[in-house]
């Protein structure tokens, strides 16, 4: 169920000729993996959240059409969806979320998140780092490498888990919009070595590493032989541009070490799950990615980001149905986005709970902003960073709470807004990083915890 780069190792017809890394015991074991399988570093022991799993809804999901409906607002605001009761007194969601409404006692909801930017990439970077980029952000000429590190990069460094990636992000490639990637998705000023380790999971559960392209002359089948691999790499080192090779070589070695470690390989193999479990998540890329995320957490990966899509856009020719519903928001929400989010997030929360993982795993579902409460001039909704939602569960979060209240049209918080730095501070605090430790690492040392969540 796993391949590198563009290669696949299994399809409906069985084993592909192009399969090259059959994970499992038959592969050479090139490096140790001492930190897997519950042997988490000491830093995790004191944490309420031994792992963090972020479900990232890139593009900006509409808060009014999901978790913060305004049925009494005028038709210019409220949208076409009915509201349904939750298990929390006086709290309603829209009818697009019946499963989550039935599980409302299992998570807490913030209705007053805010962001400082209205563009996808800068807002995403802020939400994923808790900080505003010093160069003004991607839309103002910002450069990669000048951004604060992602929460995942911070936690991965704090936990220091040898070859096991401390920060895994699940998408078809670097997440972003049609203009470019989100710089705050990676290690930022700490360097590319602290970037997320990207894995891609298809709707059939095939896992691959999208960034890796095999160099010319190195066939997939030869990779199963360690001596051949090393010889090939040595030869390549002499024949290709050294900087380019080093970049590829570093990623390759990390990937190869990860994929050939038996414990790690189990995490990637979704066929080890029962059909019932896989069906419950649903056979979509997002659903199977969420299941993969749970498996990675189970194996001790400290920080996993499950991405709804690679791109935020919905309809552009390159895009893959993100949440940026400037057009046809109400058709898309009824056809696809609402039901899929409801199914997958519910399945994830149930599964984590059933396996006893939820207490030790902080699950957060959020995007970079919400969408305009006022319906736009083409009957849809645009970006809205002034007030939106996030869902929190497990890992020290008290369930069944609704934190914050928005105004009558969902445009602005009536209560204290929850700033991105508070999101990041709370994540890191629950993951066992004290103020002193954050100060030592130079990250989010001045942030405030969202006390109402705890």
């Amino acid at each position: 169920m796993l391949g590198i780069g563009r290669f696949r190792n299994r399809d409906c017809q069985g084993i592909s000729r192009r399969a090259f890394l059959q994970v499992g015991a038959t592969l050479p074991f090139v490096c140790g993996f001492s930190t897997l399988g519950g042997q988490i570093s000491q830093a995790a022991d004191a944490a309420k959240a031994k792992s963090v799993l972020v479900v990232w809804l890139g593009g900006g999901p509409s808060h009014l059409d999901l978790f913060d409906p305004k049925p009494k607002a005028s038709s210019q605001f409220r949208g076409p969806f009915a509201t349904i009761d939750t298990h929390l007194p006086g709290v309603s969601f829209t009818e697009l979320l019946p499963k989550l409404a039935a599980r409302s006692k299992n998570f807490s909801l913030i209705r007053t998140n805010i962001n400082y930017e209205g563009g996808h990439r800068p807002a995403s970077s802020i939400m994923l780092t808790g900080s505003v980029a010093p160069d003004g952000g991607e839309d103002r000429g910002g450069k990669p490498g000048q951004y604060p590190p992602n929460y995942g990069s911070i936690l991965a460094r704090h936990r220091a888990t040898s070859e096991l990636p401390g920060f895994v992000s699940l998408a078809r490639g670097p997440i972003g919009d049609g203009v470019g990637p989100i710089f705050g998705h990676g290690g930022g000023t700490w360097g590319k070595g602290h970037d997320a380790f990207m894995l891609s999971c298809s709707d059939s559960g095939e896992v691959s590493i999208p960034a890796l392209q095999l160099p010319e002359g190195l066939s997939p089948m030869r990779l199963t032989d360690r001596r051949t691999v090393l010889a090939s790499l040595d030869q390549m080192r002499r024949t290709v541009d050294s900087a380019e090779f080093d970049k590829w070589d570093g990623v390759y070695k990390r990937a190869y070490a990860l994929l050939t470690a038996s414990d790690a390989s189990k995490a990637f193999d979704l066929t080890q799950e029962s059909d019932s479990t896989r069906n419950t998540y649903g056979h979509t890329s997002f659903g199977q990615s969420a299941l993969l995320g749970r498996r990675l957490v189970e194996q001790g990966v400290p920080y996993v980001q499950v991405n709804w899509s690679q791109y935020v856009e919905v309809f552009f020719p390159f895009s893959d149905y993100g949440w940026d519903t400037h057009s046809d928001n109400f058709g898309l929400m009824a056809d696809w986005h609402g039901p899929l989010l409801d199914r997958v997030l519910s399945a994830l929360l149930d599964d984590m709970q059933d396996r006893g993982l939820l207490d030790s795993t902080l699950v957060i579902c959020m995007g970079e902003f919400g969408r305009t409460p006022r319906i736009n001039n083409i009957g849809s909704r645009d970006h809205w960073p002034s007030c939106y939602f996030s869902v929190w569960a497990g890992g020290g979060v008290a369930p069944g709470r609704v934190i914050g209240e928005s105004d009558a049209n969902g445009e602005h918080p009536l209560t204290d807004p929850i700033a991105p730095a508070m999101v990041g501070t709370t994540i890191l605090e629950l993951a066992g990083m004290s103020t002193a430790r954050r100060a030592e690492m130079g990250v989010l040392s001045g942030g405030r915890v969202i006390d109402d969540l705890l």
């Binding site: 009915a82 298809s202 979509t284 390159f318 057009s327 001039n377």
Partner: protein, 313 residues
Amino acid sequence: MICCNTKRHARQLWLIARMRRTSIFVICFFVVACLTAASAVADKPIRLTHDGKRKLSPVFMPGGDSIAFTVHHVPNQVIVKRLNLTDGSQEPLFPADPAHQFDAAFSRDGRYRSYCRSASIRQLVLVIQDTRDNNKEFIFLPPGSSRGTVRSLKFTPDGRRIVFTLSAAGGLQIASVNLKGEDLKRLTESEGTNYWPSISPDGKSIAFSSSRNGPYDIYVMDIDGGNVRRLTNSPTRDIRPAWSPDGKQIAFTSARDGNYELYVMNADGIHPRRVTNHPERDDFAAWQPDGKKLLTVAERDGRMDLYLIDVPE
């Protein structure tokens, strides 16, 4: 799947048995017998596809031996496919088009076909092709913003116009154009969202969903947009009406029982009855040309496929 008729029969038997003060054993015996008989009469749903990929907007093509449907083919492309019912084969309907494609529609005589195409000049444009003229294309660009869209296309029975959902200020409206993508006529101008038009077989009326009075309900109007009447009044959404070939019934999707299920009602809105009953999703009803079955997209075990199901009396 247990249809509502089965439940009703079971209840009738239970009441009869109670009146006659028969034993619990006898009641159970008859209920089981009734369920068995009912399931023997009703055909099982016929699964038409097996890939499990996300599907939308299936429709029978002219002649009735093929189905066109929208499918999330690969992660970054949604396309329209044709399913040949005689041999089960599938093929892209617009293979030369690399854009996202949605919501295919066909004129009754099969000469014209239409779909929504993602583009940069507008988000979704209306494409009309004349199959008798080397697929010559006519494009309708939704007016206004570059993010304008058209969705949910239907040809009028006389084949002269296409009715669709059009992005508009403050909401979505039902509109139509001729076969050259010209002569735009706005058929609704209400508050809220108006979506999923379905034209009666006689061409005189259009059923559609609207949020003008709250959550989506189903309405009907004359073909020119006049004489709007409300057919449903549900606390949750009633969407995607589909007029039966004989014009006597309308199928639709409703969440009135907690999740997406299919219902059928008389064309005047009375006698709604539930067609599907499953904890997963049943959606996108389209009538088989003989009116005996509904073509649907059903989610089963997390996979979305096309099915044919019986329509209750």
